[in-house]
Amino acid sequence: MRIARRNRNSALITLTPLVDVMLILLVFFMVTSTYLDLDMIPMVEKGDELNPTAPSTGTDGITTLLISINAAGEARFQGRTVTASALAEALRAQPDAQVLILPSGFANVQGLVEVIEAATVAGITNLRVVRLKAAQ
């Protein structure tokens, strides 16, 4: 006697739950992500040690240039109010100089960033922002 085998159907895998999960993930990433193009300017880096009492030798031959920023956010260099492009042009002649930026506390962040940008465009690599501390 021959026993007939039941014809087995292959298991059906439905793709609908996969599509559901992927759509949920897609909507999640579209809604929660931000697409702003952001850059950074380093303010404190490793190696920038705080040592305000270290004496300055003043014999290292490095020229120090001071740029101040007034409350309106305008840069002042060598006694004159200068635009960012004029400042970059003036600094280009001395790329090895140490540049100190002394901003007014009432100046805005954009004013400081513009001066940093001008110095960077001019090739200045030794750049510091200084501020006056209130007398104690």
Binding site: M22, D39, E45, I69, S104, L112, V113, V121, R131
Partner: protein, 134 residues
Amino acid sequence: MKLKLRKKSPPQETIVSLIDVVFFLLVFFMLVGRMDATSPFNVTPPESLAGEDLPSGGTTVAIGINGQLALDGTTISEAGLLQSIARQLTANPDLFVRINADGQSRLQKLLPLVSKLEQEGVRNVVLVVTPNLQ
């Protein structure tokens, strides 16, 4: 004579191409997007072409136009912020702090805060800017 009509089977709609497209979009948004804690107030970063690429990770301090502070999306006082940063520093001495300051906020808030962070022991602080594409 009666002609027998062939039974029309409904067209097979394959969803494989849909899955392909959705998967492609999913990978695109995962790679292109950046997930950050949104600050509770509006912050428009200063514009600059001098910026370097901003790495991901770290903790974000937001400074609003009126000097409000937020740490990783939550409004916080300056004392609370410094305490929280000090706690994070004990767990991670190489803590990376991003300062997302509004371009119109005053430096009298930003600069003392950077000094205080430095005094707390943070050695990696950056200011977030956005490229000026004009």
